[in-house]
Structure formats: structure tokens, C-alpha cells
Symmetry: C2
Subunit: 319 residues, 2 copies
């Protein structure tokens, strides 16, 4: 079966590389994924990773987003300042001249001057989510949970401002390296959050203006005084740290929890955040598993990168 393919999209982060092949309508006809994040490249080479992940695909235009455009990436792309929308982000794309085989472009990340903040890759997820959920263009808060959780405010179709909370990284550090994880035999939280998760949420909430940083040690004190089971410590800390994100958000918004939330990311993590959102009085959030493919397509379309399509003898092997 022949398919006209105008674009390959790359979601190229620190720890993984995903590639999408699109038909002319923007449908993803093939997806590939490898652990070739920019710090884990095969042969230490960006072009080797790209060659390998696109093996057998036609040499069409490529658009990449994520840490591949950072200082440690293949080709540094200057940040675009917020407020930014699909047009301003598309204008900030840079051609990657180091890529000989393809007409390859890299999307910029976003920069916020004050409070100082940066993102790379999440802006593309948000653009993709907005294209899927146009009703959210007027006013929504996107939450992208993870190593560095992003909270982005969209109003009038533009990413107006954003915050970064190092929840996932701090959680992992505490469990792996700190006294809090010392006696704990389970390292990961349960697939489904339990009652200790809710206790953590509660602790973050009742910490009020003190904040959850003042409550971290309590997970050990509760354990030592037999008020918390040792193996519930990960759940408690998960609730405490995720709860802290919502506590901070509510402080910023003066206690207003009426803004609609949209979660983008790993579904089991989004599930935890949805529970936390409800606990903090928000309406149940919309959950989107992944929107990078749609975002790359929207950016490429806006930048006029879809003019040429190559015919690909698609055998369905990639499906």
C-alpha cells in the first residue's frame, strides 16, 4: 500500500526518542521508540540514532522537539519567550545543518523571564493537546507531571506563563539516597495510590503557607513512632510532593480552583494527579496520554514544512 508521507516527527528528550511518520492528513501511520535520549545515544551519535530509528522510512522533512535543541543537544535552538502560541513557536524553529541526510528542523523551547523558567518539549505537547481540545484554547491549566512537572497557563490560545516543580526528581532522590527511603523495601509507589497517598495529600494541604518542605521529615518521624508503616513511606511521600504542587498552584491563584485542568503524560501518574486535583477541590481534569505527535504536526503545518510528500510503500510492518 502506497502512502504519501510529508513528515517525520521526533520527540527527542533526555531519556527517550520517539519517531512518528505521518500521512498527508496528519495521521500517524507508524511510530517507533527507543531509549536513545540525548544522554543515551547509540555510538554517542545523534545521526546514528536518527538513521537507526528511521531505517526504511523515506527521507522526508523532519521536525524534532525536546532536549535535542538544548545546549547538550544536537543543535542549540534559542528559546522563544512567553507568551507564545503555535505561530511564534513555529517561527523560532531552526534548521539543523548538522543533519546531512534530511531537511531537519528543531523546535524551540520556551523561556519565561520572571520567575525564570524554561521548558523544552512540553510546549509541543501543549500545542498538540490544544489542537485536540480546541475548547481549552480560551482558558486552561495544562499539567505535565514527571521528573520536572510543568504547570502552564493557556489563555486566548497562547501559553501565557508556566512553572516547573521538581516533583519527580525530588521523589526519586529522597527514595534512593535520603534517610527517608532508608528502611523502605519498596521503592516505587503502588500502581494504584492507597490511603497513605491520601495522608500525604492531606499533610501537604494542611501545611498551608508553611509548605510541604517543612513536612518531609515527618514521614520518618511517623514511621519511627509507629504511625506509618515503613512500606507506606513511598505512598506518603508521593502524596506529599504531588499535593505540594496543588498547594502551590492554589496559592498562586489566590485559592481559586475553578480553572479547568488538563493532564498530559503517563496515565498512571496522571491518575494520581487527578485524585490530588479532586482532593484540592478542582473539577476532575481531562487526561491526555500523549500529544507530542499532534504538536509536531501542528508546528510543521504552521511553519509550512508539509509542502512535499514522498510516496512510501507502507507494508503495515510499522503499525
Amino acid at each position: 500500500m502506497n502512502v504519501a508521507v510529508p513528515l517525520i516527527g521526533l520527540d527527542w528528550g533526555t531519556s527517550s526518542l520517539r519517531a512518528y511518520l505521518y500521512d498527508v492528513d496528519g495521521n500517524v501511520v507508524a511510530t517507533r521508540q527507543h531509549a536513545w535520549g540525548i544522554r543515551h545515544l547509540p555510538e554517542g551519535s545523534f545521526s546514528a540514532a536518527l538513521r537507526a530509528i528511521t531505517t526504511g522510512w523515506p527521507p522526508c522533512t523532519i521536525l524534532a522537539a525536546g532536549m535535542v535543541g538544548s545546549r547538550q543537544g544536537w543543535h542549540e535552538v534559542p528559546y522563544v519567550k512567553v507568551p507564545a502560541d503555535v505561530t511564534t513557536i513555529a517561527k523560532g524553529m531552526v534548521r539543523n545543518d548538522a543533519c546531512a541526510r534530511h531537511d531537519m528542523w528543531i523546535a524551540p523551547g520556551l523561556l519565561q523571564d520572571s520567575p525564570a523558567n524554561v521548558m523544552r518539549g512540553e510546549e509541543t505537547q501543549i500545542i498538540g493537546a490544544l489542537s485536540q481540545q480546541p475548547e481549552h484554547r480560551a482558558n486552561v491549566r495544562f499539567v505535565l507531571p514527571g521528573t520536572h512537572s510543568k504547570w502552564a497557563t493557556v489563555s486566548d490560545g497562547r501559553i501565557a506563563a508556566f512553572d516547573t516543580i521538581m516533583t519527580g526528581e525530588i521523589y526519586a532522590l529522597l527514595m534512593k539516597h535520603s534517610i527517608l527511603g532508608a528502611s523502605v523495601s519498596v521503592e516505587e509507589p503502588q500502581p494504584v495510590p492507597n490511603e497513605a497517598f491520601l495522608r500525604g495529600l492531606h499533610s501537604a494541604k494542611e501545611s498551608a503557607a508553611e509548605g510541604a518542605f517543612s513536612r518531609l521529615f515527618s514521614s520518618r518521624a511517623l514511621m519511627l513512632s509507629n504511625q506509618l508503616a515503613v512500606d507506606d513511606v513511598p505512598e506518603f511521600l508521593s502524596g506529599l510532593l504531588i499535593g505540594e504542587e496543588f498547594r502551590i498552584a492554589l496559592v498562586r491563584d489566590g485559592g481559586d480552583n475553578s480553572v479547568p485542568l488538563c493532564l498530559i503524560g503517563d496515565l498512571s501518574l496522571c491518575h494520581r494527579y487527578a485524585i490530588a486535583a479532586t482532593y484540592f477541590g478542582y473539577a476532575p481534569p481531562t487526561i491526555i496520554g500523549d500529544a507530542a505527535a499532534q504538536g509536531l504536526w501542528q508546528l510543521a503545518a504552521t511553519a509550512g514544512l508539509l509542502a512535499q510528500a514522498t510516496t512510501y510503500d507502507f507494508l503495515g510492518l510499522d503499525a
Copy 2:
């Protein structure tokens, strides 16, 4: 020269062991220190460590305080609940029957039910500091900076309540293992805090009810956007995290910074905290380098452990 020595005091923590030999007036006539914390024992043996550090000293009564009385210590001593003073702490001492050579006692740590909190060793420092600074018995906040900073409220001569903030441990984790320390070539903060330290303090202060956890990532964003030199990141984080302790304290006290502060601990660290205290509007704190020896003596005297003194032919070798 013969000296009558009634007591050996041990400050036995996680990473170090210090021993004090006293005369009958409570003067320390000899001090020894080794890196034999309870996790770094010679031959893995508490008695080997004790034997080695007291070599040549007479077999008099011993009082130990610190993690040696924890579940991972030599002999677990139940916590005493706050409010607690020198008398209630002395009553909570337990004889260490596992020590065959000496009449050895271990002081209890303190437990606070709500918010759940524990300390082991700091209570002895506080008792010692109160004996040095009797004017502080009425009303003072003791701050013991370190891996797990303790803030303890003393009123009417009793330790009424306390908090633990994991400042030192979080700082070390961030610098060693997180993205924030990634490009930084200096790991330790400067001996004297610089302007980046003040920027960190400022960031903690202006975070107001959001808290410094919401500002951690900004150290990277400022660095990436050339607003903070890479090698100033440790200073900035030091200021941000120490500032967070003061921000939390002020929230708890409803903004009242009139309580006198007394710092106990490593002098260069206390110097940082003194700068932070002033920045947050407190009067310059009293600084006490170490008060464990005095605390051990006070507890031993209160418990009636000083009845017998052994004559020691003190050659001044230990001075």
C-alpha cells in the same frame, strides 16, 4: 597530675563519636574525636569503638547521647515526649547492659506527637546551651543547622516543641545527584557566602506562601538564561534552602520575628544562618559552637550519676 574524674560523656551520632572526660567541677579535661559514627564503627562493634576512644581513661561512669540510643544504635532508648526539660530527659535515661566494662547510660531522644517529629542528640546540645545561657531559659528559639536542621522552642526552661527541616540533606542531594548540580564544578558553598547566597535568600523570601520548593528549578533556568553564573548555583541554592527555613519559621509565628534566636553548630554554617536571620528581620543570633559536653554533664548531674569519681593520673597528653 592527679585529677578526680567522675564521668565520661559521649556524643555519638550517625557519622562521628566524641568523648569528653570531666573533672568534678564539670570542666572537660580531655576530648577525643573519631569518625566512628554508628554507621562507621571499627570492626562493626560499639564496644570496640568505646574501648578505643577511652583507651587509658579510667573506667568511670559513662553517659552517651545521640543516635547510639536509636533503633540502629547500641541500645534503643524510648523517646521522651515534649514538653521536656533536663529532669524529664534525665528520667528517661536507660542503662546500657550490653556494655560490660562501664556503668554506661544512654540519654533518650525527644518525640513530638503532632506534627510528628523526633530528635536524638540535639536535646543534649540544647540542655547544654541553656546551662551556658541561663537568660535564654524563659523564651528562645534554638536553631541547630545541619543535615536535618532542628528548630526548637524553649519556654520556661522546657523544650516545648520542635521542627525538622531536611536542609543539609536536600542540599547535598541536589548538588550531587540532581540536574541542578549537573554543570557545576564547585560542589561546596564558599567559606564566606557571596551575593548569590543573598539572591537565594531573597528568592525564598519573595516566594511567600508558595515556598522555596516552587523555586528550586529557577536556579537552572537562571543559569540557562545567563542570569546566574554556573558556579554560583551552590551559593544560590544554599541561600534558597536556608532562607526557606526562616520563611517557614515566620509563617509558624505569624510573621513575628521578635523571638531571640540561638544558633548551635558548625561555626561557618552558623554564620550563614546568622546572615539569613538578619535578612529575615531577626536580631543577630547568639552563636554557640558546640554544647554537647555541657549538656551531657547537666544530664548526668541531674540523674545523680556523679557520685563516684576515679583518680586519673592526667599527664596532659589529651589536652
